[in-house]
């Protein structure tokens, strides 16, 4: 065994722990290849007029031309607006939805019903976004879908959902709520479970009804969990759910007007073989996100030590 505080030479450590180093080797190789090599490569491409057949080393070096073009060009405001709008909608609606649902589930007294609601609510999380997109195509079909059938029933004109970009921030938010709200309750339900029952008993003695118990015991008790979850999701503001958008919007260019975000813009460009500008956009996004996640995590740790991601 090693005496604590004593530093080992590299050679001795290798000799003594070679099995452990060997065990971690595949991971290190993988991380270097798939995570660390792309970092400088991305930076280089973002400063090049990258042409695939010329490759990384022979493409023309253009310094900050790509950055200047993107920051002053026409695409950025729209993409930024879409990304921020979707994130804001998600924070305002999807985030509280989980808390409200958790509180409602917590109030259920019938155990069988409670478990059924939980099972049903968690399920969408395990469906692929492509399946969810399929369900959405079905519901919003102009001729046959449920939405337009209902509109017809109450005497309104059918809506061409897939040709109306202005509706899509809302549609995507609803889809996200549908898929993730149930799953999101787990953390809050766990926090509620951890509350000391004595607090409720004391509240009852003081004459508190169920609503007052929720307001004065449950919500304050899960507040740290709420705050930490909230702070961490703010750090992800620029990361939109690109799987959701790519699945639900697909190649429908009409909808890109409101559904094109940083990540889908980059993905679409890559698939069309336009690399330089998307590498630049990724670099900008990742750098800003890094500082936001870092800041959010520091905040979360300050609020309640050990509650950040690291």
């Amino acid at each position: 065994m090693v005496i604590p505080g004593q530093r080992m030479t590299f050679k001795r450590a290798m000799k003594k722990y070679w099995v452990l180093y060997l065990m971690v080797l595949p991971a290190m190789v993988w991380y270097i290849v798939f995570k660390y090599i792309p970092m400088p490569t991305g930076l280089i491409i973002s400063m090049e007029d990258y042409v695939p057949w010329k490759g990384l080393w022979k493409s023309n070096w253009v310094w900050f031309e790509n950055y200047i073009r993107i920051l002053t060009g026409g695409a950025l405001p729209k993409v930024l607006r879409n990304t921020l709008l979707l994130s804001a909608l998600s924070l305002v609606f999807a985030f509280p939805a989980s808390i409200v649902l958790a509180l409602l589930i917590n109030e259920l007294r019938n155990r069988l019903f409670k478990r059924t609601v939980q099972s049903v609510a968690y399920l969408p999380y395990f469906l692929s976004w492509t399946v969810v997109a399929g369900l959405a195509f079905n519901l919003m079909d102009t001729r046959f879908g449920l939405f337009n059938q209902v509109l017809k029933l109450i005497g309104l004109d059918p809506v061409r959902w897939y040709a109306t970009p202005s509706l899509w921030p809302a549609i995507l938010t609803v889809a996200k709520i549908w898929k993730t709200t149930g799953w999101g309750t787990i953390v809050f339900l766990a926090a509620i479970c951890a509350i000391d029952t004595g607090l409720y008993e004391a509240a009852v003695v003081d004459g508190a009804g169920r609503w007052q118990q929720t307001l004065h015991v449950t919500i304050p008790a899960i507040m740290p969990t709420i705050i930490v979850t909230f702070i961490l999701s703010i750090g992800q503001m620029l990361a939109s759910d690109s799987e959701m958008i790519m699945a639900m919007v697909g190649n429908n260019e009409i909808l890109w007007e409101t559904a094109q975000t940083f990540e889908t813009f980059v993905t679409n460009n890559v698939m069309h073989g336009t690399y330089a500008s998307s590498a630049t956009l990724s670099m900008l996004q990742n750098t800003v996100t890094f500082f936001m996640v870092w800041g959010a995590n520091t905040l979360a740790n300050r609020r309640e030590s050990g509650s950040g991601i690291w």
Binding site: L20, M23, F34, V117, T130, V270, S282
Partner: protein
């Protein structure tokens, strides 16, 4: 039990009503799809999608399988990717996670930092895409396995699990001359069964549901995993089935019902195993919530 006031009774009824309604919104979209997939195409074209099958028939399923060899092929692809990819990824992650949990290992802080740092910062899609292509994985099944071999999130869970084990557990074996590998394999790993089950179940679901990397890296339609077929069917249904239909001499394509049938086929495995595996899913979140 406490005496209930009138307000509480009203609330209970309201709550049950609300949550029933909520549960229905989760179930109904799926039921409509199942029902449409079992309906007669012409009835659907006339009446729209319904909650109960009209003109019950399994024609859409027969058509989907018969006229599109792609579908069966895609299911086999996905099963194959799951059988090869998930055990591979589990093995390398548990092995690495174990080694990373050894705080006495010189360099362990650096290694852990390198792993966690990638959760915050990445090079972006472009270099990643060019890299995978550069490694010759374009249009290869490996592009759907190797780039997703490790997940920092899983590694942190595994590392923390082994880190939480008392050192005494392994000490006796190590003093008796067992190597760290033997100790890992015979002593530490068997205690990690719940974690293996949880991460295994999550990995299987995400392997089955994965289509994003396939969208980026697979151009040969015969190599599509099932979820990419689900996506393509909405984008270009005809490309997937029309030729086959023409050969069979089918004139009216059951387009609408067959699309729904494919969605049902793709999601059915998840729906079937879900009730049995639910406890592992919930366990996974709890593990993630209790960090360090």
């Amino acid at each position: 039990m406490l005496k209930r006031t009138r307000g509480e009774k009203i609330f209970n009824v309201f709550n049950i009503f609300l949550l029933t309604l909520f549960s229905l919104t989760f179930v109904i979209p799926y039921l409509i799809v199942v029902s449409t997939s079992l309906s007669d195409e012409l009835t659907v074209l006339r009446d729209g999608y319904t909650l109960i099958p009209k003109g019950f028939t399994t024609a859409a399923y027969e058509f989907a399988f018969k006229s599109s060899p792609i579908l069966l092929r895609a299911i086999l692809n996905s099963v194959g990717l799951l059988i090869v990819g998930v055990p591979m990824s589990m093995a390398v992650q548990f092995i690495a996670g174990y080694a990373l949990s050894k705080r006495f290992l010189p360099g362990h802080r650096v290694l852990n930092f390198l792993m966690v740092f990638t959760m915050m910062f990445g090079g972006g899609l472009v270099p990643f895409y060019l890299l995978v292509r550069g490694l010759g994985m374009y249009n290869s099944y490996w592009s759907l396995i190797i780039p997703g071999l490790f997940s920092s999130y899983n590694l942190v869970l595994i590392r923390n699990f082994f880190d939480g084990q008392p050192a005494a557990l392994e000490e006796a074996a190590l003093i008796d001359g067992a190597s760290y590998w033997q100790s890992f394999w015979r002593i530490s790993l068997p205690t990690a069964k719940p974690l293996i089950a949880t991460i295994g179940v999550f990995s299987m679901v995400s392997s089955w549901n994965n289509w994003y990397n396939a969208m980026l890296f697979i151009s040969d339609i015969n190599k599509y995993p099932i979820m990419l077929v689900v996506r393509q069917i909405y984008i270009d249904f005809n490309a997937l089935v029309a030729n086959a239909a023409a050969i069979q001499g089918i004139t009216i394509l059951p387009t609408e019902t067959a699309k729904m049938a494919v969605i049902v086929i793709a999601s059915l495995p998840i729906i079937i195993v879900y009730p049995f595996l639910q406890k592992y899913f919930v366990q996974g979140v709890m593990l993630g919530a209790v960090k360090e």
